[in-house]
């Protein structure tokens, strides 16, 4: 394991790279909503982008790879929830609505 993998960063390079990726993914998301309006596979792509962006912030800004396992699991679980829910409701929305009816 490299030292940079086990100690908190003092370099701005990985932070800058992550920020540029976040900006690019945000602009791509904006275009997706307009170019592929109503496409059935749009939720899949959006789910992937949400997961990548959340993971980038957790890994590069919070440095979740160095954190206590509880914190790491909380971040992983929270970031994974929405992409999974987006995919499930995209394909099983009607069934989910029936389950969620009072």
């Amino acid at each position: 394991m490299k030292a940079s993998d086990s100690t908190p960063t003092t370099s701005l390079l990985p932070l800058t790279t992550a920020w540029l990726a976040l900006v690019a993914l945000t602009l791509i998301s904006l275009g997706l909503g307009q170019w592929f309006h109503g496409a059935p596979w749009l939720p899949l792509l959006v789910a992937a982008i949400v997961w990548i962006k959340g993971t980038l912030v957790a890994r590069e800004f919070i440095e979740s790879r160095l954190t206590h396992p509880f914190i790491s699991r909380v971040l992983t679980g929270f970031i994974a929830f929405t992409p999974i829910a987006l995919v499930l409701t995209a394909f099983f929305g009607g069934q989910f609505a029936r389950w969620a009816t009072l």
């Binding site: 920020w19 945000t26 912030v57 800004f61 440095e63």
Partner: protein, 201 residues
Amino acid sequence: MNAAALPVDYPSSPAPAGRRIPGNKGMWVGITCEFVEFLVLFITYFVARSHFPESFEQGADRLSRISGTVITLLMVTSSFFIACSVATMRAGQRQRSIYWLIAGLIVALGYPVAKYLEINWNLAHGINGESGIFFTVYYYLTFNHLVHATWGILGMLWVLVRHLSGGYTVEDHDGLEALASYWHATDIIWLVIFPFFYVLA
């Protein structure tokens, strides 16, 4: 519980690799509660969306996508600046750390301004909390996030005052890192909210 049962955490004590607590435990209790609160709101979103798919497909077209994108860019940029503030503090560059923190605060202040302009735009286009289920969920979730972001901005002001008065050192800057952790978590929440209302149609 007696004192012997309470583990004492010294701020400068090095944590073993893979066991770090960025900031302090109290902040991570707060962040975990924040995540749980928003998970409940996200479930509400998915229940409403599955019951009224047409309203949610049409709703995003009526909102200002530019506003949502601007807020997202403000959040990720502010989060980046705060992360730079922590990294430069670790490197012993206190003055640069303060500049990054000020930059993060200024960019973060753009969020409530952008939200104010967005709400004015909405009202001018006849969109309010009673315009339908999509907009009710939209206002509830985004206002809730704005409240959490406001706490973060107030936290930045407090941390800035402490930083300017020499409250942080290379060995002990847990307060700065706790604030950074909260702001990054609030950023992650917005990155989830953004496609809910501005991308998916």
